[in-house]
C-alpha cells in the first residue's frame, strides 16, 4: 500500500511514552466536553429519537410509507444498507490490512476507524430488517429447530448476507474490543474518579500488561487480522452478489463483487478521512495524526477512485459488448434516462473530483480533504441508489417501466440514520481513547530503536 511512502517517522521526535498517552487520554479524562460537542450531541440525540419515530411509523403503517413500487420494490433501505456497510469496511481493513503489511502509521487511526466500522455495520444491519414486509419474522433466516420443520433457503444471497453481516458485526466488535483492552487498563490507571476506575477496571478485565498477556494478545490479534481481510472481502462480495446473482439488466455482472468491495473501501476510507479531520480538531490530536497520515490516506482514496472509474467503464463495456437488448436499454437509460443527471453527479463525485489528490498540496490540505471526502460519500450513496433505480425502473418489459419517487419517510430515515451514527461516535470519543495508545507507544519505542 502507499503507506510505504512514509520514510520519516510520523510521530514527533523526542516525545515520551507518558506524553503520548496524555495526548490521547486527557481529552477524555481531564478536559470537559466542549460547546461544539454538546451542540452536536444534542442535535444527533434528537435525530436518533427521530429514527425511532421513523421506525415506529414504519411498523404501524408498513413499508408502503416509502416510495417503493411494484417494479422498483427496493429503494432507500437497500441503498442505505449497502452504503453503510461500505463505510463499515475501512476500519477493519485499516487495522487488519495495514497491520499485516506492517504499516505502523496505522496506530494513529485504527482505533476510531474500527469504532466507525462497528457503528456503521450495526446501522447497516438494521436496514435489511426494517425493509422487510414483515420485520417481526426476520429470524426465519436463522436455521433453528422449529415446529414448522422448515429451514432457510440457502441459495438466497440474503441468507449469505445475514450470515456474513452477523459474523462481521460480531467480529468487528471483538476485534475492536480486544485492541481496546490494554488502553482501558491505561484509562483505569489514569482515571481520577473512583467510578471511572471501577468502570474501566471491569472493562479492561484486569489487564495488567503482563508479558504473558501481551504474548497471547499479540498471537490472537494478528490471527484475527489475518481472518479479517478475507472476511471483509467476502462480506461486500456477498452484498455485490445480492445484485449480481440475478438476471436483471445492469445487475447480472461478474464484476459486481470486486467492484462492490472496492467501492466499500473507497467510501470507507473517505469517511475515515472525514472523521480523522474532525477528531484531530476536536480532541487536539495534531501530534499523533499528522499531515503525513492524511497524505497516505488520500493516496489510498485516489487509488480507490481510479479503481471505481475502471469498474464503471468495465460495466459500460460489457453492457455494450454483450449487445443484449435489455442491457443496451439499461445503458441508454443510464446516460439519457430520468436519472441521468444524478448519474453524472455520481460520476463527478466518485471519479472526477478525487483526481485532485494527484496534487500533494490537495492531499495535505485538510479543507480540500474534508470537502472531497464528503462529496465521495454522497457520490457513493448516489451510486448505490442508482444501481437499484436504473435497473428496477427499466427492466426487461417496457410495460412495467415505472420510476421511483422518494417520500418524506425515505429521506427522514436516511438522515436520522446518519444522526444515529454521529451520536454513537460522539459518545465513543467521550468514553474511549480514540487512538490506540499502546500501539502509539510501541511505535514510539520502535522509532527510538531505529534512531539508536
Amino acid at each position: 500500500m502507499s503507506g510505504s511512502a512514509l520514510r520519516e517517522p510520523p510521530l514527533p521526535p523526542g516525545a515520551s511514552y507518558g506524553e503520548l498517552i496524555g495526548v490521547v487520554a486527557d481529552p477524555v479524562l481531564e478536559r470537559g466536553t466542549g460547546r461544539p460537542w454538546r451542540i452536536a450531541f444534542a442535535v444527533t440525540l434528537l435525530m436518533t429519537l427521530g429514527l425511532g419515530i421513523c421506525i415506529a411509523w414504519l411498523f404501524i403503517q408498513g413499508v408502503g410509507i416509502w416510495g417503493i413500487n411494484t417494479p422498483v420494490v427496493w429503494g432507500f433501505a437497500i441503498a442505505n444498507f449497502v452504503w453503510w456497510l461500505g463505510i463499515g469496511h475501512a476500519g477493519t481493513l485499516i487495522s487488519a490490512l495495514l497491520l499485516i503489511t506492517r504499516q505502523h502509521w496505522r496506530a494513529s487511526i485504527n482505533r476510531f476507524a474500527e469504532a466507525m466500522t462497528l457503528f456503521a455495520a450495526v446501522i447497516a444491519g438494521l436496514f435489511p430488517i426494517l425493509h422487510l414486509g414483515r420485520p417481526y419474522r426476520f429470524y426465519w433466516l436463522v436455521p433453528y429447530p422449529n415446529t414448522m420443520e422448515v429451514w432457510p433457503q440457502w441459495r438466497s444471497a440474503l441468507v449469505w448476507d445475514f450470515a456474513a453481516i452477523s459474523t462481521y458485526i460480531i467480529f468487528s466488535l471483538l476485534f475492536w474490543y480486544w485492541g481496546l483492552i490494554p488502553d482501558l487498563a491505561t484509562m483505569r490507571d489514569r482515571a481520577r474518579s473512583r467510578a471511572a476506575r471501577y468502570a474501566y477496571g471491569v472493562l479492561s478485565m484486569g489487564w495488567r500488561g503482563s508479558a504473558r498477556h501481551w504474548h497471547r494478545h499479540d498471537a490472537l490479534y494478528r490471527a484475527m487480522a489475518a481472518l479479517a481481510v478475507p472476511l471483509v472481502v467476502s462480506v461486500h462480495s456477498v452484498v455485490g452478489m445480492d445484485f449480481a446473482a440475478s438476471l436483471m439488466p445492469g445487475w447480472q455482472e461478474t464484476i459486481f463483487p470486486p467492484y462492490f468491495v472496492i467501492g466499500a473501501m473507497f467510501s470507507g476510507f473517505a469517511m475515515v478521512v472525514t472523521l480523522a479531520i474532525l477528531l484531530r480538531r476536536g480532541l487536539g490530536l495534531e501530534k499523533v495524526i499528522t499531515p503525513r497520515h492524511f497524505d497516505a490516506m488520500a493516496k489510498i482514496v485516489l487509488a480507490g477512485s481510479v479503481a471505481m472509474a475502471i469498474s464503471y467503464t468495465t460495466e459500460w463495456f460489457t453492457g455494450w459488448y454483450g449487445g443484449e437488448r435489455a442491457e443496451l436499454t439499461h445503458l441508454g437509460h443510464l446516460f439519457t434516462g430520468a436519472y441521468a443527471p444524478i448519474y453524472y453527479g455520481m460520476l463527478a463525485c466518485n471519479v472526477l473530483i478525487p483526481q485532485v489528490f494527484w496534487l500533494r498540496a490537495a492531499r495535505r490540505n485538510l479543507v480540500t480533504l474534508f470537502l472531497v471526502t464528503i462529496l465521495i460519500n454522497i457520490g457513493m450513496w448516489l451510486e448505490r441508489i442508482l444501481i437499484i433505480w436504473n435497473t428496477l425502473s427499466h427492466g426487461h418489459l417496457p410495460s412495467m417501466w415505472h420510476l421511483f419517487y422518494p417520500t418524506f419517510w425515505d429521506w427522514a430515515t436516511l438522515l436520522c440514520s446518519i444522526g444515529l451514527f454521529t451520536f454513537l461516535f460522539l459518545v465513543f470519543v467521550r468514553i474511549f481513547p480514540a487512538v490506540a495508545m499502546h500501539d502509539l507507544n510501541k511505535r514510539l519505542y520502535q522509532e527510538k530503536e531505529e534512531r539508536a
Binding site: 441459495r155 484486569g206 508479558a211 494478545h217
Partner: protein, 175 residues
C-alpha cells in the same frame, strides 16, 4: 489464590527490563513475569515462555464450525426437506460454501477469544500486582519485572539486578 509473595522491580525503559529478565531467568528463578505498557519484542523469549497454542486452537475451531455449517445446509436442503427451488440442484455446493466460509471465520474467532481468556486467566480483577504502589504506571510508562518464587526474597533479587538500577523494588504480601 494470590501468591504468598510477589517481587516487583520497576524500570524506566524496555531495554533494561529485557536485561533484567534475562538475568533472573539465568539465575533460575521461577514464576517470572513482566508488566509493560506495550508489547516488548523478545520479552517472551527472555522470560522463556513456551509458544502459545491459540492459533492451532483457532484453526481447529474454525474448521469444525465450518464443517458443521456445511453439514447443516446439506442436511436441511437435501435430506430433511428437499424442495425444488428454481430448478437448482438440491445439493448446490457452490453456494453452500458461502455460509460455510462465514461460519469458519466466526468459529475461529470465538475459539480464539475463549482460548485467550483461558490461557491468560482473564478476567482477573484482583491480583497481587495491583497492590504494588506505583503499579498503575505499568500501563503507561514504566516496565515491571515480577518474580513469584517462594525461595527468592527482595535482597537476592536486588543483588541480582545490581547495576541495572531499578527505579524501585517492592514486594507484595498476601496473608
Amino acid at each position: 489464590m494470590s501468591l504468598p509473595c510477589l517481587l516487583l522491580a520497576e524500570f524506566r525503559d524496555p531495554e533494561t527490563l529485557l536485561d533484567a529478565a534475562r538475568r533472573v531467568r539465568e539465575a533460575g528463578f521461577k514464576g517470572l513475569d513482566a508488566h509493560t505498557p506495550f508489547p516488548v519484542e523478545g520479552l517472551a523469549e527472555a522470560l522463556g515462555f513456551r509458544p502459545t497454542r491459540i492459533r492451532p486452537a483457532m484453526l481447529v475451531g474454525g474448521l469444525l464450525s465450518g464443517a458443521f455449517a456445511y453439514w447443516l445446509q446439506w442436511y436441511s436442503a437435501v435430506l430433511d426437506y428437499p424442495i425444488n427451488s428454481g430448478g437448482r440442484p438440491l445439493h448446490s455446493w457452490p453456494v453452500f460454501l458461502v455460509p460455510t466460509f462465514e461460519a469458519t471465520v466466526l468459529g475461529a474467532t470465538l475459539t480464539g477469544i475463549v482460548a485467550f481468556l483461558i490461557s491468560t486467566g482473564l478476567p482477573r480483577l484482583h491480583h497481587p500486582a495491583f497492590a504494588a504502589r506505583g503499579f498503575e504506571r505499568a500501563s503507561q510508562d514504566r516496565f515491571f519485572l515480577s518474580v513469584a518464587d517462594p525461595h527468592v526474597d527482595a535482597a537476592r533479587l536486588a543483588a541480582l539486578l545490581d547495576g541495572l538500577g531499578p527505579l524501585s523494588l517492592r514486594e507484595v504480601r498476601g496473608e
